[in-house]
Structure formats: structure tokens, C-alpha cells
Chain length 273, copies 2
Amino acid sequence: MEIKLAQKYGFCFGVKRAIKIAETNKGSVTLGPLIHNPKEIKRLKQEFDVDTQEDMLKTPEKQNVIIRTHGIEKKTKEALREKHFNLIDATCPYVAKPQEIAQKMSDSGYKIIIFGDANHPEVKGVGSYAKDPIIINSLEKLTRIPIPNKIALISQTTAKPQEFSKIASHLAQNCKETRIFNTICSATFENQQAIDELSKKVDIVIVVGGKNSSNTKQLLSIAKKNCNDSYLVEDETELDMTWFDGKKTCGISAGASTPDWIIENVTRVIRQV
Amino acid sequence: MEIKLAQKYGFCFGVKRAIKIAETNKGSVTLGPLIHNPKEIKRLKQEFDVDTQEDMLKTPEKQNVIIRTHGIEKKTKEALREKHFNLIDATCPYVAKPQEIAQKMSDSGYKIIIFGDANHPEVKGVGSYAKDPIIINSLEKLTRIPIPNKIALISQTTAKPQEFSKIASHLAQNCKETRIFNTICSATFENQQAIDELSKKVDIVIVVGGKNSSNTKQLLSIAKKNCNDSYLVEDETELDMTWFDGKKTCGISAGASTPDWIIENVTRVIRQV
């Protein structure tokens, strides 16, 4: 079988960086899972003795504590420092940026509006750097509250650019001064665009990723629009060889939480079909 | 005839302020016409000896020079200072604000985008405070140029809020950091809203203003939508008494460049019908 990989797929820059940090700090503890992929977390435990703890403050002191990709709340970071943990920051730089902006703009007297999901750890972390931030997940919510005079708008890194821009538009008309920081990371959309192009050119598409991962499911749904024979597998054991009957070219992509080694295992098996 | 004045009409705050400044500085010279209304300029000359000069730098030195409502270019202001004129600033405060912003943001490394008419004296003045500003009168123009990383967006005071907001929306999606200063003045739109309401409640509408004034013509066109018997006059001598036959209530509004004394003359004549 001829294999065609999507131009962009799998781990984003921030996740790759976090894993490298974990691998080079054997025996560390991460506060919450480093990334949302149990198989990769298990591998880090087995090969690098990197453990996961949910509540660091209740665990005994340990030398190295890795802060995960989504970042953590300011007060938690401060509490960790007070306990004299050695903090290793694996917060994605694209997440650290809105944290910095939230702090700086809030200190400068701007009201912080975060466009994102209030329950997402990234948004909780970013919001913790501002004084009473307004967190909205839709323009509609913004139309129901009074608009302050000086606003700084930031965004969850995975927010939709079109929605973000609608909010900016509303603020431009209703606020004297708005500072807009486009903190959206393009990785998710690049993966989606890549599978959209790839799936038009192949006979079958395999998407590798967690069945509960929403970004993986989105990739599958985009592929299916262009190629009926599109399937989602968590690893190579889930491949059904009859799928490939009469096919010549297989396109492969992977969700943002799928490590390269799983993708490579899947690719190796398909190549031999 | 019963008279109903529009809730908002005629001179805006900045024009009223400029005329008061001229009246309290007898014998001054204004650089270019203080406002765009020849009858009012003539009155200021006759009653307050306030003269108009087009090119101050070619005229002999004189004590008091009034800067008109639209403001002037920075280099002209500097040249006037060098010539030791006594500058009296009648620049509308709503125009002085974007001038300040342009200077400050340009000095701070932001590329200035002005939404407005490049040939309008206000926009020329504001632009002169920035380093190589980009002046656009439509979103379309913005899509044809490369977008810098740090932008400060300001607006001509009379720009349309909806268009301004579309530009803000485009920048939010395509620029890392955008500072949006809503420098639109609401006076024009308030006059339009007021005549829209008034013209639904009266038998005849008289709009007082220059026949070449675009904002006056806009008022007439809004009135005509609601009341067929709507007329535009430059002063009381243009009133045709047959218009009022069988009418009970007359609504009156005026363009932004129409002085109160002309409106009062018109009103006095109509009241006696």
C-alpha cells in the first residue's frame, strides 16, 4: 500500500516540547497529566519514571515538578514555589503568552475578556493572571453585559478565529479602547486543512487518535466528506485488513494528542498490506 | 403653525466651541475657513473682525491665529509656532484625540491605520502625527496590503461605525496585536436618528442647510422616507408659503454646518404661518 501522510498531523509544537522536557527530567512528577493521552503518559512512566500527581500540595516534597502544557493557575504555581519544589515549566509558550498578557494588561487597568471555555484548564490558568476576568464562549454572552471603557481581549489558543473576530468587531463598535491580542494557535486548523486536502487524493484514510478526542473526531468527519472509506483507530491493533481491499493509496493523519510512535506503528502495518 | 424641533440638529459640540473661541478672540485670523459655512464665516468677519487666510505662511505676522475645527497638519503647526504666531486651538477635541493617539502609538512602534477619506483635512491632520500611516476608506483596500504585526486603528470622527467594526474584525483575525481606538463622533448619527423619529410625527419637514452639504442632503432623504412634504432651504427667504397649506405641525432640523441664527430666522417665519 502506498502511504501519504497529511502535511500536518499529530502533536503540536507545545506537546512535543513538553514530552522532550519530561524525557530529559527523569524521575519528575507532573501536576495533572502532562498531555491528554494515557498511552503516552504510561510510556513516560515506564521509560522515564515520570509520574503523574493530581494534587501536588498533598504529596510529599519532591525535587522536580513539571507544569503541564495547559499551564496552571497562578496561586497553584505560587504554592508550589512556597513548598520549594523545583518547578520545570512545560507550559506551551503559546499558552504562557496570554498568561503574560492577562497579567500585564490587568495591571495596566484594562478589563480582561477571555474568549474560551471557562472550564478548560488553559482558560482557568490564563484567567488567574487577571483581576476578575470576563470569560465568554460566545458573542451572545457579551451582548448581555455592560462593556467597560478599556478592554484587552485574548483568546483560548484553540478558539475559532471567525468567532474571535466577531467579538472583536462588537467591541470595536461599543468600547472606546480595545486591545486585541490574537493568541489563537493555528496548529488545530492546520491539521484540519491538511486532512481536507489529503482526503481528496487517496483511496482510503486512516485517522489515528483517541475515540473520545474531539479534535480527532473532527479530522475523521472532514476526511469522510471527501473519502467514504475513512476510519478511526486508536492503534495498529484496530486495523481491519479488509478495508484495504482494492485500494492503492492510503492517507494517514492523527489527532493532536496522538504520539508519533503510535502513528509509526500504524503506518508500518499499513505499508505491508 | 406648530413647530417641533428635532431632538438633535445643527452644529455639533466642536463647531459651537470653535465659534465661541472665534467670537472671544476679535481681530484674529483663521487658517482656512473655521467651519464649512460661508454665511457664518461672513458674520464672524463682520461682527468680530475674524478673517480667513488660506496660506498663513505667506501673510504678514499677526498676533492671534485660530486653528480650525478639523485641525491642521503637524508641520504647519510647527511652522506657525516658528513664526511666533499666537496659536489659538479650535481643533475639535474629538479630532485632537486621534491626533494624540496617532503620535503616541506611532512612537510606540505601532503601525497606524486611519479609516477615513485621505483627502479630508481632518484625516490629513491626524495622519501627519504618525510615521507613514496607512489610510483606507474601505475594508477591501485592507485585504490588498500586507498586515503589519502591531497595529493601532483609529477613525475619522464621521466614519460609519459598521464599516469601522468590519475593519477591526479583519485585523483581529490577521494581526497579532491590534489596538482599536473608537474615535467616531456620534453627532452626525444622532442628528440622523432624531430626524428619522421627528419626521414620523409631523405634517411637513423643513431641513435648514447648504444645498451642497452632504450631511444636510442625508437628513432630507431620511425625512422624505417618512414624510412626503419635506423640503430643504438655505435660509428663510427660500420658504414657499404654499407648502404649509392645510398643515398643522412642522418639524425642523438642520445640517451640521448650519448656525443657530439661520435656524431661528427660519423658525420665526414658519411659526407665523
